[in-house]
Amino acid sequence: MITVDELKKIAALAKLSLDGEDVEALRRDIDNVLEFADTIAQAAVDLPEEAGGEASWRFREDVCRPSYPAEEILKNAGERQDGFFVARQRGGLI
């Protein structure tokens, strides 16, 4: 069973704020899904030793190519300055 403290720790790892959330209801939801997921822990089947990947990855040669113009990329940013994204360390945005 997942505890509220564990849930808070996972939320911090996942960068999700639980402010305003019904934490106990969320815990119950997650717990129900984990109970359902636990059926694989009891899977009485012969499993392979290694999983192996879904796809055979094919990497391209690492060659410098022109990319998108900075001003295009910045168009979707909520705040930008002098050709950069802005990340504020303190306080709310006005």
Binding site: A14, L16, S17, A37
Partner: protein, 483 residues
């Protein structure tokens, strides 16, 4: 019923101009969308510009490409340069991509007319389309029922005659389930057959783009145009076009029936499937009884892998480079956490948390690693089944379209994917086609699963059923543009 073939004929014979056709679809979409919520964004300007280009070609007597001038709906998790792409999320409510997805590049290159961006469950996470920030798409076959998820808006647009065909994406059944609920044909291609470049990622090892159409030949025609190999998607293999290979004959085809897929089916779903099996037997197919004992582990395996990949893929939404941003915060970490909690809806937050949990130290081996080992076992079991058959026949969904607002728990909702998500786990192709109706007149979907890159085999079996039943199960709603 509008089909690509019919609409193409009308354009070529100049019975209607492409602008007239496009205006009719746009007008119908504007009128019906407040009720259906099939579209998140209507792309009027882009549609009309393309339509005018097509009309110029027709006037000059130039040959039209296969999908040229045909109005369609594109799921809103497929990037379209200059056209808003929201993933049905508050997070991307105002996001406009600066590049095109490979699939849209191909379709735009041949003047396919985009009517709009199709509604969906937020970030493709859901089985009803009700997890959309913009409100759920309704089922045109019965407005009190859901269109299915996650590509529900695309299916609603096609079934409501607001598009001739649609392009969706399928991570655990998101093309096949709405196709089943709305009485359409939906093809989930082999993993790697269609480029995922520009598809906003949910579960990268499971996601695949494919068509939702009014009939098998349309699904095949659209697949032919989007199955090219893409050097910019490292998992892309490409595939051969299939339309020319479809004969409509299933004589000698080995159709596998694994009993586990049919356990506990309601009679209303079971009966049309039994009738379909009888029909295939009558057409000369050989029926092979099979077992799929691992089916009981498919759902947890799928949800562990999908949520783990989602928690990683959705880590990019920090509010700094694009997307929603929190307006009040204490520091940068708080800004990111608040941005994400405000921008993502409940189901997305839940899946991110589950994914982070199964990947965290102490739980990784018990959940994620075990799920990956089971994934390999499931693939091996499919390989064994395909050594004895060419196609597996199953229900698409064990139920017909759910009532809107049914209020299911997350686990109850996940269980509706039981027949579809094993296909994504194994990277196989599968088609859903309508095979009958339940007592309320809601469509029942039949799923045909094939071995890797055997889209021609599953579509051929689908076409055989359609022809033998004279398309009697193919029916769109009495609304929208009826040409």
């Amino acid at each position: 019923m509008n089909t690509i073939k019919n609409v193409r004929h009308l354009l070529k014979c100049k019975e209607i101009t492409c602008r007239e056709l496009t205006v009719r679809f746009l007008k119908a979409a504007e009128e019906l969308n407040p009720e259906l919520t099939a579209y998140i964004t209507l792309t009027r300007e882009a549609a009309l510009k393309t339509a005018d280009d097509v009309d110029k070609k027709i006037q000059k007597g130039e040959e039209l490409q296969p999908l040229e001038g045909i109005p369609f709906c594109l799921k809103d998790n497929i990037s379209t340069k200059g056209l808003r792409t929201t993933c049905a999320s508050r997070m991307l409510e105002d996001y406009t991509p600066i590049y095109d997805a490979a699939v849209w590049e191909s379709l735009k290159g041949q003047n396919a007319v985009i009517i709009g961006k199709g509604n969906m469950d937020e970030f493709a996470m859901g089985s009803t389309c009700e997890n959309s920030y913009f409100g759920g798409a309704k089922n045109p076959r019965n407005l009190g029922h859901v269109a299915g998820g996650s590509s529900g808006g695309v299916a609603a647009a096609v079934a409501g005659n607001l598009a001739v065909y649609g392009i969706g994406s399928d991570t655990g059944g998101s093309i096949r389930m709405p196709a089943s609920f709305c009485g359409l044909v939906g093809l989930k291609p082999t993993y790697g057959a269609v480029s995922r470049r520009g598809l906003i990622a949910y579960g990268s090892s499971l996601d695949q783009i494919g068509p939702i159409a009014a009939c098998t030949e349309d699904a095949a025609a659209v697949f032919d145009e989007i199955c090219a190999k893409d050097p910019l998607d490292m998992t892309s293999e490409g595939s051969e076009p299939v339309s020319d290979k479809l004969t409509g004959s299933v004589r000698g085809l080995r159709i596998g029936l694994a009993k586990e897929f049919f356990d506990g089916l309601p009679e209303s779903v079971r009966r049309p499937l039994d009738e379909a099996v009888d029909l295939y037997r009558k057409l000369g197919a050989e029926l092979v009884e099979l077992e799929f004992p691992l089916l009981k582990y498919v759902l947890p395996t799928y949800y562990i892998i999908a949520c783990a990949e989602a928690s990683s893929n959705l880590g990019r939404y920090d509010g700094l480079r694009y997307g929603h941003r929190a307006s009040a915060f204490d520091d940068l970490n708080d800004f990111i956490c608040r941005t994400r909690s405000e921008g993502f809806g409940q189901e997305v937050r839940r899946r991110i948390l589950l994914g982070a949990y199964v990947l965290s130290a102490g739980y990784y081996d018990a959940y994620y690693n075990k799920a990956q080992l089971l994934r390999k076992s499931i693939k091996n079991e499919f390989s064994k089944m395909f050594s004895r058959c060419d196609v597996l026949l199953t229900p698409t969904v064990p139920v017909t379209a759910l009532k809107s607002g049914a209020g299911m728990t997350p686990v109850q909702m996940y269980q509706t994917d039981i027949c579809t998500c094993s296909v994504n786990i194994a990277g196989l192709p599968a088609v859903s086609l309508p095979c009958g109706h339940d007592g309320k007149g809601l469509p029942v979907g039949m799923q045909l699963i094939g071995d890797k890159f055997s889209e021609d085999v599953v579509l051929n079996a689908s076409l055989a059923f359609e022809r033998e039943t004279e398309g009697s199960h193919l029916k769109t709603a009495d609304m929208g543009v009826l040409l």
